[in-house]
Amino acid sequence: METQGLTKGIIKEWLDEVKDPEIPVLSLNDLGVITGIDIDSKGKVTVDMTPTFTGCPAMDVMKQDVLDVLEKRGVTDYDVNISFETQWNSNMISEKGRKALKDFGLAPPPQHDMIVDIDIIERASCPHCGSENTEMKTPFGPTLCRSMHYCHNCLQAFEQFKPL
């Protein structure tokens, strides 16, 4: 393809249409798993990604979705790498992503100073009514990245995207 005029910004924009397969309101950009986009002098595109959780089964799907988007846009020379050179943490979810999670009914992870302890994990605001009067039921939920909580205000169970 004619790669002239192709910029990192354009590729980043394309990636906005790739969503987390388990949380379809959250783009990979907003999730924070895209750690690098590069275009070399020959026009080869490299996208670097890092997994949210080491054992996340959605990672291969995400990688395939990125490949599909590049192909669909006519990029023929590309590489998509998954590596741990940058380690993902939940502070990397963007403000837009945090809002999308909340609208989806999933409590966004509390911001932390990289030390995740029991106090942080237990602190979840109810995404339905906003109450802080909540209780963690278990740190292990339906996917590796979610914990389960209960709101004593609106009496509903909810899930939180786990702080990591």
């Binding site: 959780f53 080491t54 590596s83 380690q87």
Partner: protein
């Protein structure tokens, strides 16, 4: 850097994760509470995923691909500790094993986050965050059940006594121990064991349980050198059944 030493370290960690991951997955559908069923299943998924990443580093060092390594070896080619291959037993035994193993695992990966071997350091930085959830989960239950009823206390106490010699086997030194320490790949099993003991004592001292005297126990060694209990081969046979039907199958 001695590559054989690094491979030895990676194999034993990956095999521990894979085998205990498989044991944890056996609780799926059988947990004593729905939450515990899910917790053990989630930890299984974490551990198997972590083992895959460790096998992947081995693959980059010239070993076979992760699936082949995981599914095509016999028991004597595995480097896991005997502790992780023991059957799940009752929930009290699984919980005690989870507590003793994951306490060590968390410290191991915290130590390895500073490894001079960069691929492992990067992965360890990731895994230590995930394992924190495992360690917290174990602590909460040990503290609760270890101070609850006569039955819960005596069950956990019996399991603790049974598990301890095996848990000490986790720290069986590698024949490359000094190489790993000198090259700052890993600070070594002795250093790990020291920190682990303190962490275990901290939690147990908040319960009605009594720690066996670790100094007087003989650790169950051998696993790191391919010497396993009769429980490993049947586990491997079951684990690899689907893969062996058609190793080239694509899903």
């Amino acid at each position: 850097m001695n590559q054989e030493a690094i491979k030895d370290l990676l194999y034993k960690m990956a095999d521990d994760q894979l085998i205990l991951g498989h044991r944890n997955s056996e609780w799926t559908g059988f947990g004593p509470l729905l939450e515990e069923d899910i917790a053990f299943s989630s930890m299984a998924q974490d551990k198997v995923g972590q083992s895959w990443q460790l096998y992947k580093i081995l693959n980059e060092l010239g070993e076979s691909d992760p699936d082949t390594v995981a599914f095509m070896r016999n028991a004597e080619q595995f480097h896991n500790s005997q502790f992780v291959e023991l059957p799940n037993g009752e929930y009290d035994f699984s919980l005690i094993r989870h507590f003793l193993f994951d306490t060590a695992e968390l410290i191991r990966f915290q130590m390895l986050a500073d490894s001079s071997f960069e691929p492992l350091a990067n992965l360890a930085k990731k895994i230590k965050g995930e394992t924190k959830y495992h360690s917290m989960h174990a602590k909460i239950w040990i503290k609760q059940l270890g101070s609850a009823t006569e039955e819960s206390i005596s069950r956990l106490q019996n399991s603790l006594v049974e598990a301890m010699p095996y848990a000490l086997g986790l720290f069986e030194p590698s024949k490359f121990e000094q190489d790993l320490i000198d090259s700052r790949v890993f600070a070594g099993e002795e250093a790990l064991k020291g920190q682990w003991k303190n962490a275990v004592i901290d939690v147990i001292s908040e319960t009605s349980l009594t720690l066996p005297n670790m100094e007087s126990l003989t650790p169950v060694f051998g696993g790191r050198y391919g010497d396993h209990s009769e429980h490993l081969q049947p586990l491997l046979d079951e684990m690899s059944e689907v893969f062996k039907v058609d190793p080239t199958a694509d899903w």
